[in-house]
């Protein structure tokens, strides 16, 4: 018996293979990380948002380049500085057949603001500054805010997946989040969405099952208003380790996988059965020098001061790094050199940024000018499991710094240990990575460069304590500038000021990689979402 079992199983599996191939229109995707809930308002992380985008739609959608395109709203306009008007698409139905109207938008907003079972209130952020929401008719929504929000369309696109209003009871809905908006039954919780009972959206897919750790199964929504995706059924399996994920693809378990390890790319290139696509993302990888404190724990100079406070030192570090070499040799070309803080082409970035020249001699001279001809001691801290090749990048940068006379040590840690410590400002020169989620230059500057003002939500990740009034004076008013061309000009000016003062040492923009079977194609997305809708047979 024991000898026969594996053999008969093998033949069974061999028989099952052609049958599996014949069941076309089904797609299996290997995910690098697992969504933490099926509730679209639970936790604002890329994995969750990408998953919920199959089932729930936003008022405004984004294409693969992160440009805004009409979604459940057909058009939108700013009526005045504090008012936006959206015209909704007519004839859209939820997956249970109910029509989509402005009531559902109001209901969704109220749920987001009253969601007690979420993580970190992450979806409430923009909605918290709404002062009123009116629905004059079924297909018009008017949003008023306390302060001007020029990026309102971007915010609506990225943080308001619309749910069906029928999942709670109410007499008359009105925008009064503090009083519960007129909802009389308890608000649905995360568990209600996980079971699929309340996962009712207007998206191209319907949720069939969501089992934690095992996977997600979805079915095509045949009544979808937009262009229907190719795949009738989709299965997503979380495989956090890159090795098993790639072997799963090679053995045919998965049709598409996200983020294969960069070190495995040559193997994918050499494999005649596989293909891949690499798309530049908006995620900037950078080092954040501790420029704000007179004493820093891991930057030690003979004079007892914190050398990173000196602009010339930061400039020297900036010039000492050969970004091209890092991108070509370490990243296998799967990254773009960063000469500014946002990718060229993104709203508010420079059209033609000057190249940050690799100039170790010039860097040495600057260091000597700053009073450190013999260099100083510096520890570079980094994660080793968060960004692509993060540990190796830190090693490379350390070597470049050694070359100009700075005595470097690299301290690589697990993300779970690293992030809490960085937040307590325990580092002197720490790696960071940040995608501009709202598609504008403000995304990075607001949190990482602006002077910290927690009440205004400024500089919340400014762990280096950088503060430059000249930058804030240009950047902060720009965030409320409704006129797009004026805002863009101000962002560009802020970029110039930042580049000259080096609050962060930019390295490169990561590329996102998807690998898949030959015969398929994937439209790589800047927002790093993995969508079944973007997988197409060739």
């Amino acid at each position: 018996m024991s000898r026969r079992t594996p053999l008969s199983l093998a033949s069974l599996a061999a028989l099952a293979l052609p049958a599996g191939m014949a069941a076309a229109q089904s797609l299996t995707i290997g995910l690098a990380s697992e969504p933490t809930a099926a509730d679209p308002h639970y936790h604002k992380v890329t994995t969750n948002d990408a998953f919920s985008a199959h089932i729930f739609e936003s008022l405004i959608n984004r294409n693969a380049q992160m440009e805004l395109i009409p979604g459940l709203a057909q058009s939108w306009r700013a009526v005045d500085d504090n008012t936006w008007e959206l015209k909704l698409r007519q004839g859209v139905k939820f997956s249970n057949g109910e029509p989509f109207t402005s009531k559902d938008v109001l209901f969704t907003l109220c749920r987001v603001l009253n969601n007690e079972t979420n993580v970190s209130r992450s979806y409430m952020e923009p909605a918290q500054s709404f002062s009123d929401v009116q629905t004059p008719d079924d297909y018009t929504v008017i949003i008023k805010s306390e302060r001007p929000i020029p990026t309102m369309p971007n915010e609506l696109a990225r943080s308001l997946p619309i749910i069906w209003s029928g999942i709670a009871k109410f007499d008359k809905l009105r925008f009064a989040p503090k009083e519960g908006c007129g909802v009389t039954s308890p608000w649905p919780t995360v568990a209600d969405f996980n079971t699929g009972k309340l996962s009712i959206g207007t998206g191209p897919y319907k949720l069939k099952s969501y089992v934690k750790g095992t996977g997600i199964e979805m079915e095509r929504n045949e009544a979808y208003w937009g262009s229907k995706p190719h795949w009738k059924s989709v299965k997503m399996v979380p495989v956090p380790n890159a090795g098993p994920r790639l072997t799963g693809l090679m053995s045919g378990d998965y049709d598409v996988i996200e983020s294969p390890a960069a070190r495995d790319l040559p193997r994918i290139k050499d494999n005649s059965k596989l293909d891949f696509v690499a798309t530049p993302s908006t995620r900037l990888i950078f080092f954040q020098p501790d420029a704000g404190r007179a004493q820093s724990p891991f930057a030690k100079a003979a004079d007892g001061k914190n050398p990173l406070q000196d602009l010339r030192v930061r400039q020297a570090i900036n010039m000492a790094i050969d970004r091209k070499a890092i991108v070509q040799r370490l990243m296998d070309g799967m990254a773009t050199v960063a000469n500014q803080y946002m990718p060229t082409g993104m709203f508010g970035s420079l059209d033609k940024p000057a190249e940050i020249k690799f100039d170790p001699e010039g860097a040495k001279k600057l260091l000597a000018e700053a009073g450190y001809p013999q260099g100083f001691e510096l520890t570079l801290t980094t994660t080793n499991d968060r960004y692509i090749n993060d540990g190796q990048i830190a090693q490379a940068v350390a070597q470049y710094l050694t070359r100009i006379g700075i005595k470097t040590t690299v301290d690589a840690q697990a993300a779970a240990i690293y992030f809490p410590k960085r937040a307590k400002r325990e580092f002197s020169f720490a790696m960071g990575g940040w995608p501009s989620e709202n598609g504008e230059a403000s995304g990075l500057f607001q949190y990482w460069v602006a002077t910290t003002d927690k009440d205004k939500g400024l500089g919340t990740s400014n762990y280096g304590g950088f503060s430059l009034p000249a930058f804030d004076q240009v950047f902060v008013p720009a965030m409320a500038q409704m006129d797009a061309s004026a805002r863009k000009a101000a962002y560009q000016q802020a970029t110039q000021i930042a580049l000259a003062n080096v609050p962060l040492i930019p390295l490169h923009f990561e590329s996102s990689i998807w690998a898949f079977k030959k015969g398929l194609s994937y439209e790589g997305r800047r927002d790093q979402y993995t969508l079944a809708m973007s997988v197409k047979p060739k």
């Binding site: 199983l9 099952a16 072997t247 809490p420």
Partner: protein, 324 residues
């Protein structure tokens, strides 16, 4: 007997209490989960609200105390990451791990004992020596490497079996089990072999040494002199005598595999409890880690209690009152 069981239960309770304290403090020392949960975009007010909601603003002894009081009411906390009770998360994963371990232990018994018998009986011939030599590889090669090799051979090159995940499941009394489908079996084979290899080697060696020793014992020689068939000597006399330690080891391995088949589950992306533990440690999901260790300790304590009781039943010489 009853006094003994009662005393053991008090002991078990104290063990659980001590473990909970150690684990709670250890997990607390690792780091603050708030930075992993809250995005950098969150306002400070939101961050504070979150810290308060999770009870992270309290001093550690107060956090531990509230954990204890809730644990007594059967609530081991709510997962920070998933927002549902930690125990529910673990229980959801239990069937997958249980299945995997049952198959692995099955393979261990079916292969380890017979092969051990052969190795022990023919220990002076190439067959026996080969088996003993080969078994060294079984537990000296790292588990994850064995797993990778299995995947490489059977999934990537031969493409006989899938490399990862769990197959189709069937609900049996509300529990999703995959051992009732062909697809499920094809998925479970590789990880089960990976888990079993080390144990097969262990059981093989244990059986073989037992047989080698028993072979030369007086009672076997006597039986042989009486003219009893070799087959009967083997099954009735040798096997019976050497099986006690083997069964003990298999029982202990059963518990260990249920609790810590982490590496195999990671390599094969098997959605079991071990993988949950690893994921939770990476995300500093404190309630899940603590609940997990508590549950596992409880299982071990129970297994030990049952083993001790079983000894008393099997061997009347064991005096429970004296055994502590």
């Amino acid at each position: 007997m009853i006094v003994y069981i009662l005393r053991r239960m008090v002991q078990s309770f104290l063990v659980l209490l001590a473990v909970s304290l150690v684990v709670f403090m250890a997990v607390y020392a690792v780091g603050d989960p708030i930075e992993l949960l809250v995005s950098a975009e969150a306002s400070d007010a939101d961050r504070q609200a979150m810290i308060k909601r999770l009870g992270l603003d309290l001093p550690v002894w107060l956090q531990y105390w509230s954990f204890l009081t809730r644990a007594f009411q059967g609530d081991l906390g709510t997962s920070f990451v998933h927002g549902i009770p930690a125990i529910e998360l673990i229980v959801q994963r239990f069937p997958a791990t249980f299945e995997l371990v049952v198959v692995a232990i099955g393979l261990t018994c079916l292969l380890g004992i017979p092969l051990g018998l052969i190795a022990g009986l023919f220990n002076d011939r190439p067959l026996g020596r080969g088996l003993m030599g080969g078994s060294v590889l079984g537990f000296s090669l790292p588990n994850f490497w064995q797993g990778m090799m299995l995947i490489l051979m059977f999934a990537v090159w031969l493409q006989w079996l899938p490399s990862s995940g769990r197959g189709d499941t069937v609900n049996v009394l509300g529990v999703p089990l995959s051992l009732f489908t062909a697809d499920g079996w094809s998925h479970v084979m590789l990880p089960a072999i990976n888990l079993a290899l080390g144990n097969i080697a262990l059981v093989l060696r244990l059986t073989a040494t037992g047989v080698m020793e028993a072979k030369t014992q007086e009672y076997v020689k006597f039986a042989r002199a009486k003219g009893i068939s070799e087959r009967r000597i083997l099954t009735r006399h040798i096997l019976r005598n050497i099986l006690i330690p083997v069964v003990t080891v298999i029982g202990m391995e059963f518990g260990t595999l249920i609790a810590y088949s982490t590496i195999t589950e990671t390599v094969f992306a098997w959605p079991g409890m071990g993988k949950l533990l690893i994921d939770s440690i990476y995300k500093l999901d404190r309630p899940v880690v603590v609940a997990y260790v508590m549950l596992v300790t409880f299982i071990f304590v129970m297994i030990n209690l049952l083993v001790d009781l079983a000894y008393a039943v099997l061997d009347p010489r064991v005096q429970l009152q004296e055994a502590q």
